[in-house]
Symmetry: C2
Subunit: 293 residues, 2 copies
């Protein structure tokens, strides 16, 4: 039994097209799949890839047919897209999103909500540094967490259905409040990205000669950072601004810790240095036991 | 034609055992391979692995037979090990090391040097987060850089031979001064490791509840950091202290840049945020074109 009759994915990029691929592969996420994108070129590509039954730029006609609309656009665009989508939805349909931040996305969508539409905010914690409809993978969410932050307007049935959808994508589920979600993601994802972008910038600002050698000799340490830093600028700008409060708090804590590490190196405080390095290893070990590494 | 008659690797850990594996696989690095380790257990393991013709704890007897001695111990141990090794070496033999920092390793080894021993400092820029004789890989250095920092006591012949050895390991070679080496490595490798260790510590210091969720939900950003941070504490403590000057300079620059990024987020300076993210992507692209990503 498919979870939904018609599923409309707005924004068939990395995340949206991964859901579509999974839905096509399994057949039991929805009976009918519609992709919506404002670009006719992207729609044409979705058709070529054959990952939706229909791909269209006509957003209101598409969402009017939906039993579930999944918003897979950048977090900064969620509010504007919801303002177009929600008024056109049919009564009793479910709205969900995949935004990487939750408090600000929920605040942006809330003014558009209707009493007869259930809204289930979600965040599948999976991704790559690539974007667009070609980047998607049917197994992107396999064994990854999908965090749900249900609200007052989230009915038990809609929560159950969205849980089923992500379970069928292979994800592991957890529910929490939106603000708790944002703090956890600030430290596990947003701050690491901020640091990776920053160190690439620092390297870039070095004297020209050293810079070209930075490129030549990037050892594994730096290489991993640039992989993180290769992600889409607009998406990350949006995420940083959308999760400003939690991110700046975590950045502040990190800066204190980095200063302390610098001081320990300055003062040859070997015990401090080793204990900090050991902490990193311990966290790594837990991740491995947890099948997340 | 093998480059050397007898090659003695002191410290058959990740790097040392990788050289031994490569030498065994090709046969033309040296005619005879001896591994030296202060632990009988490690020697027994090297024998089991069959990656050397001989494995011994008797360092002076071993190095007395060497045409080349390669020091593959932590940078903080290089001086003490050289003080034992160099007096026992035969006249005309070559001494080399693989330390991740060069200025301080050279300073530590210099007091032990003899006029009839050529010394070629080297740094193969390859590694994994694992250590010990089981961690080595015959192809670890394939397509990776090996930086050479020749000194006044580096004869043309010894430099030629050490170049040949690393070329046969598959490495790409570049020569530079020791201090330039240390600045380049501070930004491409040591600072990224310092940041990775620090963010793991920051996460660990969060309130207990959030910490367990950090472990649960580590998204790809944090996962990559913990992979870097999983490296050996003693090796990295040594590297941080050995390259203190360059590392603290790069940390200072980075902290300024991170503060500026925090300010930009605080003030919604989207142009600044995006330009910083774009820099990261540009560096990534260059690395890919350079076959380093
Ligand atoms: N990538 C990750 O690691 C990851 C992980 C979890 C959650 N997320 C979240 O998933 C969402 C999508 O990310 P993604 O990685 O899939 O990005 P993506 O590959 O760049 O796809 C974004 C999609 O949104 C559309 N779009 C962009 N700006 C828009 C606008 N202003 N109005 C309407 N549509 C717009 C794009 O259409 P065009 O191609 O026509 O511009 C594209 O179809 C974001 O909210 C992100 O926070 C991402
Ligand atoms: N790992 C990397 O990413 C990387 C990359 C390039 C260069 N390097 C450099 O390569 C060298 C070795 O690193 P590695 O990763 O191969 O480390 P490793 O796997 O931990 O091996 C270190 C070796 O040195 C021996 N050793 C440790 N402390 C010693 C001491 N005080 N006196 C004598 N021997 C000692 C160890 O013997 P026991 O096992 O008996 O303790 C072991 O055989 C270091 O100088 C490092 O900076 C490392």
């Amino acid at each position: 039994m498919p979870v939904f009759g018609t599923l409309v994915v707005v924004g068939p990029g990395l995340i949206g097209s991964s859901v579509l691929r999974r839905a096509k592969a399994r057949g039991d996420l929805a009976q009918r799949l519609i992709a919506v994108d404002s670009s006719e070129q992207v729609c044409a590509r979705v058709r070529e890839l054959g990952i939706a039954d229909e791909a269209t730029t006509d957003i209101t006609t598409a969402v009017a047919q939906a039993d579930c609309v999944m918003l897979c656009v950048p977090v900064g665009a969620m509010g504007a897209v919801a303002a177009t989508v929600v008024p056109a939805m049919k009564s009793g349909a479910v709205l969900t999103d995949v935004g990487s931040t939750k408090v600000s996305v929920i605040e942006a969508i809330t003014p558009s909500l209707r009493a007869d539409i259930a809204y289930v905010p979600a965040h599948p914690m999976a991704g790559t540094e690539f974007s667009g409809p070609d980047a998607g993978l049917a197994n992107l969410f396999e064994d990854r967490w999908c965090l749900l932050t249900p609200l007052a307007c989230t009915t038990a049935q809609s929560l159950h259905d969205i849980r089923s959808l992500w379970e069928r994508c292979g994800a592991r589920l957890r529910e929490m409040t939106p603000s708790h979600h944002d703090r956890v993601c600030a430290i596990v994802s947003h701050l690491p990205h901020l640091l990776a972008f920053t160190i690439c910038g620092t390297a870039d600002h070095l004297a020209a000669e050293t810079r070209s050698e930075v490129l030549d000799f990037a050892a594994s340490g730096f290489r991993d950072f640039t992989r993180i830093a290769a992600s889409d600028p607009i998406m990350w700008r949006d995420i940083f601004l959308a999760n400003k409060t939690a991110l700046l708090e975590m950045l502040g804590r990190f800066m204190e810790d980095a200063k302390a590490m610098g001081r320990a190196i300055e003062e040859d405080d070997t015990a401090y240095i080793v204990s900090r390095i050991e902490e990193g290893r311990a966290i790594r070990k837990s991740l491995q036991e947890n099948r997340q590494a």
